[in-house]
């Protein structure tokens, strides 16, 4: 019986946290639409939430029950968009050399540049 009550409480906390996230998302969507903000609305929503947390209006413990599982399984949410690759098979066949070069060069150059920059800034540490 106690287990059942505990899991119900857990579930309620999850939905409250999810509700906060959705509230931020939809108010950001409205703001982006009204004020023609040139930023993606999920990012605006994230900044709103960050402001609410920083100003102590929102407690991090209210958000934790939804944020932890959502971020843990974040990769799952990329699947529908990623499978969209099936629409571009002919494009892949045509452009695979440039795509291959990009996949190798972007991380190699990025890691090298950022690695040295990061090392330099941390030198006196």
């Amino acid at each position: 019986m106690n287990d059942w009550v505990a899991s119900l409480r857990q579930l309620t906390k999850f939905f409250i946290a999810l509700g906060i996230l959705l509230m931020c998302l939809y108010s950001a969507k409205l703001m982006v639409l009204w004020w023609q903000i040139p930023l993606p609305s999920p990012l605006v929503a994230m900044l709103i939430l960050l402001l609410l947390l920083a100003s102590k209006i929102m407690q991090p413990s209210w958000l934790e029950p939804a944020c932890t599982p959502i971020l843990k399984y974040m990769a799952l949410f990329f699947i529908p968009a990623g499978v969209g690759i099936v629409q571009y098979t002919s494009l892949l066949a045509l452009y695979w050399p440039v795509l291959l070069c990009t996949v190798i060069l972007v991380p190699v150059v990025g890691l090298t540049l950022v690695g040295f920059a990061a090392k330099k800034g941390l030198k006196n540490d």
Binding site: P42, A54, L71, V109, G110, L111, F116, A118
Partner: protein, 228 residues
């Protein structure tokens, strides 16, 4: 409606299965996301199913992509205390990393004479997938190409990133974490976390800051590049 529920359950089950496999054999090439995309795409092509039909059914999962971006505020806020000292430094590093990714993709597209739509899809590859998708959509790119490329960049960086950094004599875990988080987003962050807890914390902070930098900086920067 029922078919949608079935597809959603199937995708979740497949993801769970590949996640279990990856936990037993943590090899970057067995990345659950990569395996899911490859296997589902193969199934769609083999069964001759239209992507639009699949996407409509999988919409409930896709919806959470935006929610996940909002949820990133939570780790950023809780970690802010630890990284406060280096915030400006990480911001500077993320600018370097994000700009280099955009410039390299743009140069390669010029070199290979690639059309504009594909070029716009490759403009923001170093950051977490939802931001890449949103940015490439806003630039008129193809989000599916952007999504798969960003995953491949992460997988490649996850496999070879740490040994590359060691070879370049970058051995400070904080520096390794920042480099992996900026250049190889979540998959790089995962490999940093396996390597060293401090590297992991810095990687996830660097990843989040880079996501914001990309969303704000890449659209005007890329637009400016294309006018050159």
């Amino acid at each position: 409606m029922t078919s949608s529920a079935l597809i959603v359950i199937l995708i979740c089950a497949l993801f769970y299965l590949f996640r279990r496999i990856y936990r037993s054999y943590p090899v970057s090439l067995l990345n659950p996301l990569l395996l899911c995309i490859v296997s589902i795409s193969t199934a769609l092509l083999a069964l001759d199913v239209q992507y639009q039909v699949f996407f409509l059914a999988a919409q409930p999962i896709h919806f959470f992509l935006e929610v996940a971006v909002v949820a990133l505020a939570y780790p950023l806020y809780t970690q802010f205390h630890d990284i406060k000292r280096y915030f400006v430094h990480i911001l500077l590093c993320s600018f370097i990393g994000v700009s280099s990714a955009t410039v390299i993709a743009w140069l390669l597209c010029k070199l290979f004479l690639v059309d504009e739509q594909l070029s716009a899809s490759l403009a923001a590859l170093s950051v977490t997938t939802p931001i890449t998708i949103i940015v490439s959509q806003s630039l008129g790119g193809m989000s599916a190409i952007a999504a798969i490329m960003v995953i491949l960049v992460g997988v490649f960086g996850g496999i070879f990133g740490l040994s590359l950094l060691e070879k370049l004599n970058i051995k400070h875990p904080k520096a390794q974490g920042i480099a992996l988080g900026v250049s190889c987003h979540a998959i790089g962050t995962a490999s940093a976390l396996e390597h060293h807890p401090i590297a992991g914390a810095y990687a996830s902070a660097a990843m989040t800051i880079s996501a914001i930098t990309t969303a704000i900086w890449v659209p005007p920067f890329y637009t400016w590049l294309t006018t050159l």
